[in-house]
Amino acid sequence: MNRINIIGAGLAGLSAAITLSENGALCNLISLQQSERAQSVLAEGGINGALNTMGEDDNVENHFNDTMKGGCFMADPNAVDGLTKNAPKVIRWLESLGVPFNTNDGEIILRNFGGQKKKRTAYARSSTGKIIMSAVIDEARKYEFSGNIIRYSHHEFVKLLIENNTCVGVRIKDTYTDKISDFKGIVILASGGLNGIFPGMTTGTTQNNGDVTATVFSQGVAFGNLEMLQYHPTTIGISGKRCLVTEAARGEGGRLYIERNGEKWYFMEEKYPELKNLMPRDVVAREMFFVRRDEKCGDTVYLDMTDLPEDIWKNKLSDLREEIIHYLAIDPKTEPIPVKEGIHYFMGGIDTDEYHCTNIKNLYAVGECTCQYHGANRLGGNSMLGAIYGGKVAAETIVSKLDKNSAFDDTIPEFTNITDEPLTDEASPVCIQEISDVLLSGLGIVRSERELIKSLELLNTLENKHEYNLREQNRITLAKAMLMSALQRKESRGAHYREDYPEKDEHFRKTAVAKIVNKNVVISYRELPERRANPNEN
């Protein structure tokens, strides 16, 4: 039996590696850069779980309901059932690894987070992801020492090795030497979101360059709900990316406005007198889009925090203020800052069942690279949870199927220069940008058939413009699947808003599955399962 190969060493990959190790299985943990560089360290706000420590009578069923509702009932209810039931356990596990969550009298404090009716989000000041990662990295280290986990931390995914619809291994490249090796065995993909498809437009890392997803899509792996991109309304443009301005900025009293006829128009307050600037992320982002498009208005939306009291700046938003001064050279205490929407999370991704199996045998997918748990929209604080829990479920699924009588073969694969096919070049920055421009024109916050068809035509023109290398072709194919998924969903649901079909249509409450069939992208719809009466306790 071969070691299990995990591609990606963020929270999802680490969680899978630790669970495999706890069960005596051996794995290779492969990532482009070491875990400290993974996007997981950027998470700020927190992680959800119905610990019910705030005297609000919260329970896992409430968490289930909020998650399903947030995702517009597009998530697999049995998977979400497992996620929400196990969330308190996940947080207690992190606590037992020494994560210093904010506490009161020794008990974890939970905070409010968008889309949830109860306080349910545990946090460690303003760097929850980083602090959790440090603890989880230490836990994995224990198994690196014991040899259960072997790290390959400057290694790039090249392609899956697939025979007869079964994954038999993965080809990886040592980026320090350019040598390659074929690692045999089961593969778990944990390669994060599709940031690299939209350079400069996401709040995440440049490291998740999208190559893994684009490659496996072209190799026949099925994807789900690719049209579901979450835009965060308040991000600032810094060099090379969009930097998140936390929701707390509005929570503490920040106000959005745009110039209209030479005056400040606080449009959210006028349009939504009840919740004002604190409407859900997708509504805010959409309204920002509409007012910018309005001829009477300017083309920049500002976030005005100049009226916030001194103690809030000092005690709650000091990091944010420092960051904005550093990157924009504007002091938000005295001057409004220009904000724009940025892509923040990819709900869509590799299609898996509730056990994290893909359509290819012996291939699993976990974390942000999958379409699991979040349906049409993700609740803040549910993605770290999904990454950790999903990694655990995939590992447990694999362990349950292992042949207990056969031992792990522990020969370390060699890296060589010899291959049956030459390594493909990286996609060129020019080509990446061109594809991104086409995608953004179709997959913005507000979409329509006209724009989507135009984008698909542009993509066709681009495709025929000149010869592309394999990675570029794969990107074009994935881009096509994203646009087609958005075109065919003739309704508005969650993060997908169609101006020409502004209402929900029950007929479309299905997973949009994208796949390559005879070299063509095909989109089909799969019914969602019913929630089982007694979902598996695990």
Partner: protein, 242 residues
């Protein structure tokens, strides 16, 4: 803004290093060294000051907001994060020199192999043997010691650290402080021995490391606390918050 970048380059781990100078122009007053490297690499037509083509400059980055430690390099003689080094700070002088960290083996251009940092932590057994909890007396210190980026800037300036030295430097002392703070009883002796051998005995306490840490980690405080617990056997934290 127009600025001259003087970059120390190296094709691969065994080839000779050479310098290449590129003029970088930008409208963005907040541009960083990371911006410059990205834009130069995105421009296939760019030439150096001698009219030669500039092959893609190899460097590592990930978060672009000083939270992941990937882009540490030497900029104007100081180890720091490229995504944090704003060009306007050097504009007056007109030139920025960019070099890879020198304590580590160069892989290519600005990429160095920092694997030794992880190996040190593994050899020192930096983990909890059994379940623990960050109670309120140590929660501050566990938070602070969880913030280390593993960037290596501290090791670059440390007079006592080199690849292979028994002394593992501040990049190991910080994560070790996390373990020492909440170490289960049965693991105490072991972690104290490791701390003494690999950190306490080798550290000259000049705190050169503190001045370059891009995360601004309160290294002073962590050292005092770890020494108190690991060397003098005192309870860490001690004072209750309220």
């Amino acid at each position: 803004m127009k600025i001259k970048l003087d970059i120390l380059r190296q094709e691969n781990s065994t080839s000779e290093p050479y310098r290449q100078t590129v003029i970088f122009e930008t409208e963005d007053i907040n541009a960083t060294v990371a911006t410059a490297l990205t834009e130069i690499n995105n421009n296939p037509n760019i030439k150096d000051t001698e009219g030669n083509r500039v092959k893609p400059i190899l460097w590592e980055c990930s978060c672009l907001q000083k939270k992941c430690g990937a882009c540490a390099m030497i900029i104007n003689s100081k180890p720091q994060l490229a995504c944090n080094a704003q060009l306007k700070d050097y504009a007056k002088k007109g030139t920025v020199t960019i070099e890879p960290l020198k304590k580590f083996p160069v892989v290519a251009d600005l990429i160095v192999d920092r694997t030794i940092m992880r190996d040190n932590l593994t050899n020192m057994k930096i983990w909890f043997n059994s379940q623990t909890k960050a109670d309120e007396t140590v929660s501050d210190i566990m938070y602070e010691s969880s913030r280390c980026l593993q960037c290596g800037c501290c090791l670059e300036v440390c007079p006592n650290f080199y690849v292979g030295s028994e002394f593992t430097g501040m990049a190991a002392a910080v994560p070790t402080a996390r373990i020492i703070s909440a170490v289960p009883e049965e693991q105490k002796k072991e972690i104290r021995t490791e701390y003494k051998k690999h950190i306490y005995n080798g550290c000259g306490k000049s705190l050169a490391c503190r001045d370059v840490c891009p995360a601004g980690i309160d290294i002073d405080k962590l050292l005092v606390r770890s020494n108190a617990a690991a060397i003098w056997g005192r309870k860490i934290g001690g004072k209750k918050k309220k």
